[in-house]
Symmetry: C2
Subunit: 333 residues, 2 copies
Amino acid sequence: MTIKDIAKISGYGISTVSRALNDHPDVSQETKDKIKQIAKENRFVPNSNAKQLKQQVSNCIVILVKGSFNLFFASIIEQMQTHISRLGYETVIHYLNEDENEVRMAEQICKEIKPLGITFLGGNPETFRKRFSNIAIPCILSTTSAQSLSFENLSSVSVDDVKCAKQAVDYLFAYGHTHIGIVGGNEDISCTSGLRFAGCRQSFQEHGQELTDQYFEQAHFNISAGYEAAKKLLQKNPQLTAIFAMSDMLAFGTIRAISDLGLSVPNDISVIGFDGIELANYYCPKLTTIRQPCENIAVSSAKMLVGAIHGTEQAQHLLLDAEIIEGDSVRSL
Amino acid sequence: MTIKDIAKISGYGISTVSRALNDHPDVSQETKDKIKQIAKENRFVPNSNAKQLKQQVSNCIVILVKGSFNLFFASIIEQMQTHISRLGYETVIHYLNEDENEVRMAEQICKEIKPLGITFLGGNPETFRKRFSNIAIPCILSTTSAQSLSFENLSSVSVDDVKCAKQAVDYLFAYGHTHIGIVGGNEDISCTSGLRFAGCRQSFQEHGQELTDQYFEQAHFNISAGYEAAKKLLQKNPQLTAIFAMSDMLAFGTIRAISDLGLSVPNDISVIGFDGIELANYYCPKLTTIRQPCENIAVSSAKMLVGAIHGTEQAQHLLLDAEIIEGDSVRSL
DNA sequence: CTGAAAGCGCTTACAG
DNA sequence: CTGAAAGCGCTTACAG
């Protein structure tokens, strides 16, 4: 069933059928009704390949997600999708592995499906610095700041990772802890864990401490990595009374590790996480964590991207605040 | 950059360029090399719309996922994807809301992108009964059995939900519990929770009990629903000493609810889950659960679908076994 | 308000 | 081994 068939059945020409189906204003209502009726009866679905081949641009916005599983991203994606479709665009979600290059993939997607814009979740600014100049459509980096880059078609929406991580560690200091460990983080400040690490370092310095190897253990942002890292950390530094885990998943792994060592949270060791996913609130103990403003990130990203697509908005870098959610995983010393 | 441009640059005709790029055997190696080199230099990416419009069928397999967020599905999707691409096909993932009709969506997708096959995650057999006859390509229902249906192009891979749920409740009885509650489930045996509920009922009967309203509370399969349902259940039936939650997420919500009521798991109340997601192993307490064989479901689904696409396999319904993972959330009475 | 015609970028029978 | 031509299903300037 193609528009040609509908043209034949209806007696109209194919151009009129096309216009009627797309609700062009210059087709009489009567004609539209007839044609739409026939399309409906025959369960006509337009061939999107033909449509897009002809139109050169699609109506779609791509959400490019790095890291296939991440509850934090999940809730953002969901809301983003809802919002984008409310604004009248289709959305295509594409997942990449951690080791794939998101910008290269974006280049390919641009050539293949010609989207109007792209939002990146979990991208690395360094990758953007190197290759993003190949991309011409409006893009937005969500949950990571692109402030340090200055592409005129790249905006970003995120929390200030340095500040928020500092906030987390400050919180532990404020509760009287002086032996604080960090799960996650590294020296590379171009990525999220590097930025959060920098925040930790600041907090340490302000409290007259130096953040040495003794106090942190790197980990990818998943639960089993958190478990392993926490175990190592507690082995090399048994005096710790509190741990900042750089994501809630890391925090869950950390708490499990602490339990497996025969210790309890928060009685022996306090734990604070980062992200504020729904599960944090249902974990036992309820996790104290830095809650990123998911809805705001999702909605702002969608709005800014659509603004940029309309050409009404310039690239900008939105830094949002996070709030501390107090659970039962931190106690004062 | 199109193949026309490459034809111009290389001096060959566009048909030769097309054939070279697609590695057709009737193009000399030399020509192929030259053309591919030029394509590479110019970062040529074929326009997939044009390609598919012409080819009429794509090379892709669609994974249609109902319910946008579900850690259990997540790990299956990931493995399925890996496996499908290893078998030489592209994969497109499409998420639907709970209230959308998966089969109707599949019909549309068939017309739009003409996939070779579809795997459904989280589909409802009843929906298939009504509309699936409209679909002509090989499909597979994963994690839910389509045994009761007899479409020659619809296979399924799943555990036996009735049996596995019975296993869970039997386990609690075996540990001496006699007041067992169920979180989730309903009378509609066309869906997963209905099947599991039927298994619970069987177990109750075999142990000389009747599964009345007093013993269960319905809940959608998410953590907050589990929390609410468990609270209600314990309110209306305070004598319970054990609960079977029909998914791990429900179990987490249940455990949190128990804690909030000032009781402890497993000392006051034992809890067993269903699915066996990674998180279950990192929850506190470690969750005892019925582990579905994710890899096997993923791999078998992929294999069976590809077999059906090749026309070498008939529709079949694979029922896999689940195993009990013993955590620390059940104690003997 | 409607239609005939061109063309989007590709593939593939057909001819050489 | 290579090329000219037709055609996939749509949209849209152009003409009426």
